[in-house]
């Protein structure tokens, strides 16, 4: 990576976080990993590929709700951002099939719903 100039920093900040398209973030800190986030992450990757879904699977740090790990945040056009908790392999697949493909929220694992930041 090239050295940054002050201008580069300004323009990167102005551009903001790339949250375009559909994405899924998995909390991959120690507590998440202990609760099985690693398996959830690879399941999401494999199953999304199998289904040809255009969705980015990303890693992130601790969201704070350790009691509900593994946590998975889903951002999908037309729906509010949802944080699912206590996600296992089965729920991960449900998230892909229902939330991403069919655009309906998955029952019983919702821990937070955020109204969209941008319009």
């Amino acid at each position: 990576m090239a050295k940054l100039t002050p201008k580069d920093i300004d323009s990167k900040i102005a551009a903001g976080l790339d949250e375009s398209g559909d994405w899924i973030k998995v909390g991959m800190s120690t507590c998440g990993m202990a609760a099985g986030a690693g398996e959830v992450f690879s399941t999401l990757q494999q199953e999304a590929k199998k289904r040809n879904l255009e969705v980015r699977i990303k890693k992130c740090g601790c969201q704070g709700m350790c009691y509900a790990e593994p946590l998975v945040e889903v951002h999908c056009a037309g729906l509010p951002d949802v944080v699912y908790g206590r996600v296992d392999k089965e729920t991960a697949i449900k998230i892909l099939e229902k939330h991403i493909s069919a655009k309906t929220l998955v029952n019983d694992n919702i821990y937070e719903v955020r109204t969209r930041r941008q319009a």
């Binding site: 120690t30 507590c31 990993m33 202990a34 609760a35 350790c66 790990e69």
Partner: protein
């Protein structure tokens, strides 16, 4: 372990750290990562290579809980006795592990398969009580699950 063999293995570690200020603890970390503990012969060689008195090396090894002077068992079992785990029944888990393996904390089983340690907080308090085998963390462990967890590693040998 022959000394030439040790020298060979120590070379990259010593090269990285020699001459850097206050590097002894980092060197010991690298040694323990490599050998699993800090063998006596290694300390002797380190003393020579780094020109640090042997007494200083042992003074440091014995002060810090993290450094081991004995070879560890094949699998390391760590039972967390941090506050959250303690309140949620970690002492019972520890007793169970001890009784299954018939060792005390800090000891290795006779067959060298397991080493039992007590640790203070693995940082997974949300999942208390927690135990760890090698790098795998088991959360919300119940007394009944201990046998199941331990035997997983026993069978693989």
């Amino acid at each position: 372990m022959c000394s030439e063999h040790i020298l060979e293995q120590l070379k990259p570690i010593v090269e990285e750290w020699k001459g850097k200020e206050g590097s002894l603890i980092m060197v010991l970390h690298a040694v323990q990562n490599h050998f699993g503990y800090v063998p006596r012969e290694v300390s002797l060689q380190l003393s020579r290579l780094l020109e640090i008195p042997l007494a200083r090396i042992y003074e440091v090894i014995t002060f810090y809980n993290y450094f081991k002077l004995e070879p560890p068992g094949k699998h390391r079992i760590s039972v967390c006795l941090g506050t959250a785990c303690y309140l949620k029944g970690a002492p019972v888990i520890l007793e169970e592990v001890k009784s299954i393996l018939s060792v005390k904390e800090g000891e290795t089983t006779k067959d060298g398969l397991f080493h039992l340690d007590v640790v203070r907080c693995l940082g997974c308090c949300g999942l208390a009580p927690v135990m760890m085998v090698d790098d795998k963390v088991y959360g919300k462990v119940s007394k009944g699950q201990v046998m199941e967890i331990v035997s997983k590693y026993g069978k693989e040998g």
